[in-house]
Subunit: 254 residues, 2 copies
């Protein structure tokens, strides 16, 4: 029979040869009641540390599943070092933004509260759940780190001084995101900052302009909503400085 | 007082000096009951042909509004000639895809039904409504053309033979989308084709590979959902072959 895994799940436990892994109640419910998998079927597991493993279901019941690791299918590899800082937006679009940023390989997703941020309450747990599901579907070997929401000035104070910080700006002087991404080497990493729908305040813009690592970048002549700007900037950075030239992993499961 | 328009609306009527324009019931309701605008306030109007005009509300009531054109604020300009062909997806994500593709400047949005397309019923009217709202918000001067859903083979038969057709492919040989976009000149135009979640069938891939204008392109090592792939490809084409280096229009409304 084909050993192609029925799905791909993130787990926190270590993954090593001969290991046995128990799943969370949510994951066990997904395998049992949604996918209707029975013992003997295989799934792929990853934990952000030990690569990807093929695991066989030994036993499964209401809220639990026990799997034995059959072999490693991918070695752990570090993803591109790109972070997304963004002013929170409304719930449905926020879920979407986190899912898509995860698909596009963001290593860190950090909500930052600006003076004109309207939506200030962000549930980091909800962001993590969205990120996990997107990572499972996107073949990522890790989850993005989800930062606790914090104020912009504090986020910038804590931001590495020498790490390039690209601030997407709809007005004022800016280089194109493509030119900015081309000028950066992936090993320096990069942070992309997306402002609130109302834009940054003049105070915030002055504060940003004074930060040595900041460059203001443009995303073309159309006004993009916050989530569109974030995805465009991430896609461009991956294509021009990150791993955009790589191909999805191909594995023969037979 | 500031003449900054309270909002920006797409209309079908001609826009010319001295003209008087009536709004649709939906737009009139939006101005009256949502924005609560009264006579004397201004809005921006565009119709895809005559640039953008500042219009003053002369009268407004239940389901109607009459505006007089005060002057042209932008000249009509053709947008980049990039088309998006995609296999329809479920409703919420489809709405999202059309909104974002419009923000990213797609000139044409064409649903194509492939052998593995699950969602076959697409309401073109709903796509148009999403496109219009996104165009109004994005400062576009036109709406994307929304094609009637059709089968893939027919869509390809009707596709201009010499127009580059970039097919996003998760498996098999492909050049990076960035390399493909860089190699294209904007004046030739470009069509981006996104397959269904289940992928193209071997028959479809052979059919595509035989088309002279087709190039298979990759979007990096992660598996992207259909809407993420579409937005990434559009953003990359705009940045590297389209108008990504331009800035949003700046106008002083005082």
């Amino acid at each position: 029979m084909s050993r192609k895994p029925a799905t791909r799940l993130y787990v926190e436990e270590d993954l090593a040869a001969g290991g046995v892994v128990g799943l969370s109640p949510d994951h066990a419910h997904f395998l049992r009641s949604v996918l209707r998998l029975e013992p003997g079927r295989t799934v792929a597991l990853f934990n952000g540390r030990d690569g990807e493993w093929l695991a066989r279901i030994d036993g499964i019941g209401k809220g639990w599943a026990s799997l034995s690791l059959e072999g490693q299918t991918r070695l752990q590899a570090a993803g591109p070092d790109v972070w997304l800082y963004f002013a929170p937006i409304k719930r449905a679009r926020l879920d979407f933004l986190v899912q898509k940023a995860t698909e596009l390989g963001a290593a860190r997703i950090q909500p930052v509260v600006t003076q004109r941020t309207i939506v200030e309450r962000v549930k980091a747990d909800r962001l993590r759940a969205n990120a996990m599901e997107a990572a499972e579907q996107s073949e990522r070997l890790d989850l993005p780190e989800i930062g606790e929401p914090g104020k912009l000035d504090r986020a910038l104070d804590e931001h590495p001084q020498d790490r390039p910080l690209l601030v997407c700006a709809e007005a004022g002087d800016a280089v194109s995101m493509a030119d900015a991404a081309r000028s950066l080497s992936a090993d320096r990493g990069c942070t992309i900052l997306i402002g609130p729908e109302g834009g940054f305040t003049p105070d915030e813009l002055r504060f940003l302009a004074d930060a040595p690592a900041v460059r203001f970048v443009g995303l073309g002549p159309r006004i993009l909503r916050a989530e569109t700007a974030a995805l465009s900037a991430l896609a461009l950075w991956q294509a021009l400085a990150g791993d955009g030239a790589q191909r999805p992993p191909h594995r023969d499961w037979m």
